[in-house]
């Protein structure tokens, strides 16, 4: 069971309540596809991913980025039960989407960097540590049901 201090809960809630999902989601996903091009394998049907500009302006990627980011909401609302909360999504990513779980960490790292760009100095080492702990728990839960 993951333990969260009051401070950590507050930091996580703060980040998400001030988040512009329609801005950050698309940016994080686009960055992942550009920085780790092999992740494009999961988006063959999304249209033109031919170069960085195409990826950044692709409307399907943008919509999907927002969707994925909202997927984190359920973790924020269920910090004490993330593993169970993501069981269904884990099965989906394994059985239906066939996503290599190593990719979750890649997207998490890109999200961290996009949020760092947005918050600047306000993204202190302590906040970074908490945010990365949160993402690590989500990533672990998403990989949990793979077999």
């Amino acid at each position: 069971m993951v333990e969260w201090t009051e401070q950590e809960r507050s930091i996580i809630n703060n980040i998400f309540s001030n988040l512009d999902y329609d801005d950050i989601g698309p940016k994080a996903l686009a960055r992942c596809l550009i920085v780790y091009p092999w992740t494009q394998r999961y988006f063959a049907s999304f249209g033109n991913l031919y170069n960085a500009d195409a990826i950044k302006t692709n409307p399907n990627i943008a919509t999907h980025g927002t969707k994925v980011l909202h997927g984190l909401d359920r973790a924020v609302k269920n910090l004490d039960n993330i593993k169970a909360t993501y069981a269904e999504l884990s099965v989906l990513h394994s059985e239906k989407l066939h996503v290599d779980p190593d990719n979750f960490k890649l997207l998490a790292d890109c999200l961290t960097i996009v949020i760092a760009a947005k918050l600047g100095n306000a993204f202190t080492p302590e906040i970074q540590a908490t945010f990365q702990k949160f993402l690590a728990v989500v990533v672990s839960a998403l990989g949990r049901q793979y077999h």
């Binding site: 760009a117 600047g120 080492p125 970074q128």
Partner: protein, 143 residues
């Protein structure tokens, strides 16, 4: 994942923009490494003060960035250019190479906070590849 000419150009262009702030970047990245990945503190047990912004952290951050600057200068031959540093890390410091990845990530985060407009996805991929190759060069002499 070796560096293309395009990657090298992107790294040099980004470095030109950020190198004036090298000391601050190094100090911040190291502070973050110690906070976000507390296991890395084991390498610095001999320091009096491991808190972010301490003199030890600042000094060491500066030293690390000196290494990064050297790597940029030797970008066409990282293995050769970083030979001495590799021997230092392999035989004296014996830092587990897994940690290079962690520091690289912290460097990317710091650069992202300080230079959000310059750290585009294109610059990010080039720098990520560069740091990966620096880590490889540093690990060269380990075994």
């Amino acid at each position: 994942m070796s560096l293309t000419e395009k990657d090298k150009a992107a790294v040099k262009a980004l470095w030109a923009k950020i190198s004036k702030s090298a000391d601050a970047i190094g100090a911040d990245a190291l502070s973050r490494l110690l906070s976000v990945y507390p296991q890395t503190k084991t390498y610095f047990a001999h320091w009096p003060d491991l808190s972010p912004g301490s003199a030890s952290v600042k000094n060491h951050g500066k030293k690390i960035m000196g290494g990064v600057a050297l790597a940029v200068a030797k970008i066409d031959n990282l293995t050769g250019g970083l030979l001495e540093l590799s021997e230092l890390h392999a035989f004296k410091l014996r830092v587990d190479p897994a940690n290079f990845k962690l520091l690289a990530h912290c460097l990317l985060v710091v650069i992202s906070t300080m230079f959000p407009n310059d750290f585009t996805p294109e610059a990010h991929v080039a720098l990520d590849k560069f740091l990966f190759n620096v880590a490889l060069a540093l690990s060269e002499k380990y075994r």
